[in-house]
Amino acid sequence: MGWREIFKRRPAAAPAALEPTAMGAGILVFENTSEVIRAEKLLKEAGWPVRVMGPPPEIQKGCDLVIEFPLMEKLGVLRVLAAQKLAPLEVVPVNSPLLQPVSLFQTKDFGEYLMVRAANMKLTVHKASRRIVNVSGGGCPDVPYLAHALVGQTLETAPAPKDLGHTLCGYALQLAYEEMQRQCSP
């Protein structure tokens, strides 16, 4: 890899080596989970080392996600979001550990079919055709909606759950979807 490729992979404005907690973390609080997912995508594309986490108890309302980021980089992060007309409701410093999203996956092999579970969401694929045959679990209202959009599609043609989902269950399904793609990759 040449030096040009290295520079292409890391935007100048985003110090990707910094972990959010290494220099003090802040969280970005948004109106809804859809905005969190959009902000995560924008900030990661810009190279910022952000993480999707659970909010501290004092601001938990229901189906919540927040974005953890290095507080020192607040201005740059907000600039990226503002350029896409995405403004957080609040920017809050974090003093205690945040809830971690689930990172364990359970895989079950049914012979012709493979099922991956992430948290409360399960995604099942027909191995030979790579067709999504079922989505189960979850409790937020976008789960039946996502299931309707995904079932019958292949891993190549299905929309990513993060592009259609709005809730934590939708985000969990995205994790199952990514894990399924990883396990089914040649």
């Binding site: 938990q60 999203p101 689930v102 079919y113 045959v133 679990g137 409790g139 937020c140 039946p144 269950c169």
Partner: protein
């Protein structure tokens, strides 16, 4: 009478409350039709065929369209806050709603204002918010799957997405998780835990287990957990006690699955057709024994 409250994954589906019926492959609620793929329509469809089998009136449905933005759920919450004190339902079953603690608590006040307090069942998103509100003990029945049981057992998790790894780990046995859920007051009076083995439990311990018939292919099929809850709700509304209703629902759902001869690609509507036959068979035998 039973009322089932939840959402339909269609943005344009209006808020409706009224009688339910199956019309071919679709569910009718107050004259509005929706497909029975999974979620609340699957729960209601199972409750409809269960009520028919028992010779009971069909359940009432109270539904709104919501694709995850929470708008339909909020309309439902507001409607329930206003209307529930005027209703006389014997059993209320809450299902796919966007979790929102403030609205949950307002609906709970409305339930307390009803002339006669109904039995309360919560599953899916409403079970999440019931736990998060700290009022799980006000409910009569939760119907979690094993992943959701781990969430109930984790006193710090506000949603299954944040269940801590040491609790979620597969090696944790359901009985330990049930004990922990009650220890931190995060379970309803009764639990029907849906899994490889179904557990029917209360604070005093496990009352019954259901292991047969074993149909491994049911786990990946979306909606099979919803149908268990629907059967249990209709049995409760018909006068069965909580433990008996939970046992019969767990057995009938497994048997209906077996009769459908499913693969992991089977859709839940195919299984619902077999519920009346399965339930008739299950109710012909004594209920409160393990099996």
């Amino acid at each position: 009478m039973l009322a089932v409250i939840g959402t339909v994954p269609e943005e344009s589906f209006p808020l409706v409350e009224g009688e339910t019926a199956l019309e071919g492959e679709r569910l009718s609620v107050a004259g509005q039709l929706c497909p029975v793929h999974r979620g609340t329509p699957a729960l209601l469809a199972a409750a409809v065929v269960t009520a028919q089998t028992l010779g009971q009136p069909p359940p009432q449905g109270c539904l709104a369209g919501d694709i995850g933005l929470g708008d339909g759920s909020r309309r439902l919450y507001a409607y329930l806050e206003k209307e529930l004190p005027l209703r006389q339902y014997q059993t209320l079953c809450f299902h796919y709603l966007q979790p929102d603690v403030d609205w949950h608590n307002r609906v709970m006040f409305a339930i307390e204002a009803m002339v006669r307090r109904p039995l309360l069942i919560a599953d899916a998103g409403y079970m999440y918010v019931a736990k998060m509100s700290g009022q799980a003990g006000e409910y009569d029945l939760f119907t979690p799957d094993i992943g959701e049981l781990a969430f109930l057992a984790d006193e710090e998790a506000p949603h299954p997405f944040y269940t801590r790894g040491f609790i979620l780990h597969e090696e944790n046995l359901a009985p330990d998780l049930i004990r922990r859920a009650y220890e931190f007051d995060n379970a309803a009076k009764y639990l029907l835990v849906k899994g490889q083995t179904d557990y029917i439990a209360c604070r005093q311990g496990i009352l019954a287990t259901v292991r047969e018939p074993t149909v491994a292919a049911l786990e990946p099929i979306g909606g099979t957990g919803d149908t268990v809850t629907g059967i249990a709700a209709a049995l409760l509304a018909a006068g069965y006690d909580l433990a008996a209703a939970a046992v019969a629902a767990a057995r009938a759902n497994r048997l209906a699955g077996l009769l459908a001869n499913p693969t992991p690609a089977t859709q839940v509507a195919e299984i619902i057709h077999f519920i009346p036959r399965a339930l008739t068979e299950v109710l012909a035998k004594p209920l409160l024994h393990d099996g």
